[in-house]
Amino acid sequence: MNRNAYLAPVLGLAILFAGGCASRPSSDRVVLPPTPGAASQPPKVQHELENPAVLALWREAEAARAGGEIDVAANAIERALRIAPGDPVLWSRLAELRLQAGQAVQAENLASKSNALAAENPTLRYRNWLIIGAARKQREDLPGARDAQVQSEMLRRALSRQQ
């Protein structure tokens, strides 16, 4: 199977996810399962310190990612993490970039780390479980991927109820 097939849902989400922060959604990207509530109001991404430097690096990462430069994007996120190491959004984005680079184990670990920091952010956790699910599929851990799907589904329902 094509690795990109796993990535599609996550990639699509990346755009919505970035909505609160930066980013111009480009039309040529596939937008798959909508983030709960995304249609009405894109989830706000709160950066820990609301630090403009973190935001600038985030934008730099976004631009690089849009241009397919995964390494450059990851570097920018790592620089941002040096400034705001407790920001779960950055960890999540790094997870996604690792997934895109085919590093499934790292993607899962980073998304789990983001989860541990994101108790108050169910939207982000939903997203992290999607990444974990895709990572597990990528390394052909199908039962693990199903567990992840259960988690993300639970979060999705809870988020929908809040709407």
Binding site: A56, L57, E78, R82, G86, K113, A116, R125
Partner: protein, 746 residues
């Protein structure tokens, strides 16, 4: 027969020629790997005041200008405002262009950054400080100069003393050799060397130090070859960078530039003629004329060089008298800043050795980017310098008896920001942070308790532990009979309190219930790679780790259970800036973050009410967590802990492993506190992950209680592990009169 001799002779010549050229090309053209500290990422809110920032600019060689800066590398300071033109710099992930920046500072922080057009700049990278080079010899990071950078007077003195005919001969001087032989014969021992500079260079670069005619013969041949292949200038330059001038521990001092740093702690270009003459004088015998050990000999030798210079007409009599009247001017070894960060470079070297063949590090002009944070390194050294003398005085020890080591890392990313390998920060030597493996004492206890908390069905924060005396019969060895620090058994104790007060008996019993192997497995899960023993005494810290290894284990705790390999190197690029390898952030799969959180609450209590409560006075109103550790009789005093941002481990002890009578709280903790005093980290110390339930518990029984009950404590539990059995009060509900009143008053 003749033909055979000719063939052998020719082959030998060819062989010599080849080795001369390959070795000399290597020496001439090799560009050692350059190592950089972290670049300075400036952004609003960065903890740098204008003075600190200016000092940083000077460290990277910016010039202060009175007017607005006009070229890259210039800055202007006007009170709390600094204007500069940042140099272009090639990083591992791209180029930071040259651009004008204007920074304003307020309250010890960067208040704003503007570009030339007045636009706000969110973040800018200022180039990193170059902290050293990596050579073949791990303890050689000599400074290289080209011929134009070497003072002409020094070159003149060198030629006068060592080889007056250097510009004219072809590598050897038969007349000089003859003269030397006669002098030596007359004296009955070697008093004169007839070697040209070229021969000396050959000897240094290519040959073993043995003295034999055969070697002399080869040396002469190779000197001729060297002269045939290379210019006088190339040979002289190589000589000046190669010449052996002294020894510092394991490190040899080669080259005049390094020699200048080593003896005068100043760059070569700043030396006066008398000082230059001393360096030239040392060439003849760096250990015989060692100016710190043998100042009289060194002075006589220096004055001889000056006399010879006068004799050769380089200086007049008046200058000669003035120069000879000068003292040697050699600085104390402790002041020498040969390598600013030897302990850190040591770690860099080791990490690179895993991934690169030596030859590549030596000869290909690699650029190595590290995580060293100079501000933190300075604070670490200052903390050690400030506290060790106090500790010695308090423990009634002679000055200099104690040693220490420390590691500071970013708590979440595992980037190693600073390392101290001992109190002599500037010298290569025994790197205690990496190589001193010492018993960690109670620093191991958190891993015992974490192992328990990873089994929520068996252990929770409400579990009661027995602190009863313990005697463990072990086949083949003495029975193991641990004692509490206060030699008192505390009976049945609260799970958390046993760790917070560092009770040995309760911990040993808990560890034995869990199995030593399980505790070791936890340590492994947090990235400790060393093979660990599995006997019971490990549970109380009979386990030897280096400070760096301790930092690795505690990073896992500080990082919420997600261990990262502690790293010094960020990236390596080739000379042109193309990335060769990156060392990206890599996370371990992690231990259950809920259990790690529960443990974190206990480590926080250690710093509030437990064995590290001294921190409350030293660093009031700070969120801190950590653990003290002490080995037998205070041979090792440890503190490992973290704040919302940084993780630090400090060890204090003696190299001869004698007792210090300093506990972890009295020895290592004061240094840790002084170091962490500088942290302005904000945010939460512990982040509560999903999947915890908070419940009221009756202390003293561990039974479920309720808010209205006297003394009830609210504790976090991993979901599904809340105690079910209720205490008497907890079962009753808030109906007693007293409880009702208390309920109203709350």
């Amino acid at each position: 027969m003749l033909a055979l001799a000719l063939v052998v002779g020719l082959s030998w010549l060819l062989y010599l020629d080849l080795s001369v050229r390959s070795r000399f090309d290597g020496a001439l053209w090799q560009v050692p790997a350059v190592v950089y500290a972290q670049p300075l990422e400036v952004h609003d809110g960065l903890d740098y005041d204008a003075d600190e920032f200016e000092a940083y600019l000077q460290q990277i060689g910016f010039d202060r200008s009175e007017n607005a800066p006009r070229r890259a590398g210039q800055y202007r300071r006007a009170g709390a405002r600094i204007d500069l033109i940042n140099r272009e710099f090639v990083y591992w992930d791209g180029v930071e262009p040259a651009r004008a920046l204007s920074l304003r500072f307020r309250g010890g922080r960067v208040a704003s950054i503007q570009a030339a057009d007045g636009a706000a700049v969110a973040i800018a990278r200022i180039e990193p400080v170059r902290i050293g080079s990596l050579f073949a010899n791990a303890y050689d990071d000599r400074l290289l100069l080209n011929l134009q950078q070497i003072p002409p007077d020094l070159l003149a003195a060198l030629l006068v003393m060592e080889d007056r005919d250097f510009q004219r001969h072809h590598g050897v001087q038969p007349s000089a050799i003859l003269r030397a032989m006669l002098a030596n014969l007359r004296a009955g021992r070697t008093v004169q060397g007839g070697s040209t500079l070229t021969q000396q260079l050959v000897k240094n670069l290519l040959l073993s130090p043995e003295r034999s005619l055969w070697r002399k013969f080869n040396e002469a041949l190779m000197a001729l070859m060297l002269e045939a292949h290379y210019s006088k200038a190339q040979i002289l330059e190589a000589y000046c960078n190669e010449v052996f001038l002294g020894q510092s521990g394991r490190r040899s001092i080669n080259g005049f530039a390094t020699g200048s740093r080593f003896y005068f702690n100043r760059p070569l270009r700043e030396l006066d003629l008398a000082e230059q003459a001393l360096l030239v004088g040392l060439v003849k015998g760096p250990s015989y004329y060692e100016p710190r050990r043998h100042p009289q000999r060194a002075l006589a030798r220096r004055n001889l060089v000056l006399d010879e210079l006068a004799g050769a007409g380089q200086i007049d009599a008046q200058q000669l008298a003035a120069l000879k009247a000068q003292p040697l001017g050699v600085v104390e070894l402790s002041q020498v800043r040969l390598t600013a960060y030897p302990a850190y470079l040591d770690l860099v070297r080791r990490q690179l050795d895993r991934d690169y063949p030596r030859a590549q590090l030596e000869g290909e002009g690699l650029r190595v980017f590290t995580h060293l944070d100079l501000a933190w390194q300075r604070r670490m050294e200052a903390a050690i310098d400030a506290e060790l003398p106090d500790l010695e005085a308090r423990a009634g020890m002679t000055a200099g008896a104690l040693e220490s080591a420390a590691v500071l890392a970013d708590r979440e990313t595992g980037q190693v920001l600073a390392i101290s390998g001992g109190r002599r920060h500037r010298l290569y030597g025994y790197n205690r942070a990496l190589d001193a493996r010492r018993p960690i004492g109670s620093l191991v206890k958190p891993f015992v308790y974490l192992t328990a908390l990873l089994q929520p069905q068996r252990y929770t924060l409400a579990t009661r532990l027995s602190d009863a005396p313990l005697r463990l019969e072990q086949a083949g060895t003495e029975p193991w009979e641990p004692q509490n620090f206060d030699r008192i058994s505390h009976g049945e104790v609260d799970f958390g309190e046993a760790l917070v007060q560092s009770y040995n008996l309760a911990t040993a019993r808990l560890g034995l219930d869990l199995g030593v192997e399980q505790v070791i497995k936890t340590l492994r899960g947090l990235g400790v790679q060393r093979e660990l023993p599995s006997h019971a005494a490990v549970l109380l810290g009979a386990l030897e780790l280096s400070p760096l290894e301790v930092a690795q284990a505690y990073q896992g705790l500080a990082g919420g259970g997600f261990a990262v390999n502690l790293q010094a190197v960020r990236a390596v690029t080739d000379a042109a800036g193309a990335p060769l390898s990156r060392y990206p952030l890599e996370l371990g799969s992690g231990l259950d973050p809920q259990a790690v959180y529960l443990l974190g609450t206990l480590l926080q209590r250690v710093a509030e009410t437990g064995t590290a409560k001294a921190l409350r006075e030293r660093l009031p109103a700070r969120s801190l967590a950590g653990k003290t550790g002490t080995s037998n009789d205070g041979r090792d005093s440890w503190f490992a802990g973290f704040d919302p941002r940084y993780l630090a481990v400090v060890w204090v002890g003696r190299d001869n492993n004698e007792p210090t009578r300093l506990s972890g709280a009295r020895g290592a903790l004061p240094i840790w506190a002084r170091l962490m005093e500088a942290s302005t980290a904000k945010g939460r110390l512990l982040r509560e992950p999903q999947g915890l339930d908070w419940a009221w518990v009756e202390p003293g029984s561990g039974l479920a209680s309720a808010e209205h009950c006297a003394e009830a404590a609210r504790l976090p539990f991993i979901a599904g592990s809340v105690p079910q059995q209720a205490s008497e009060c907890g079962a009753r509900g808030p109906n007693g009169f007293g409880e009702l009143i208390r309920g109203w008053l709350r």
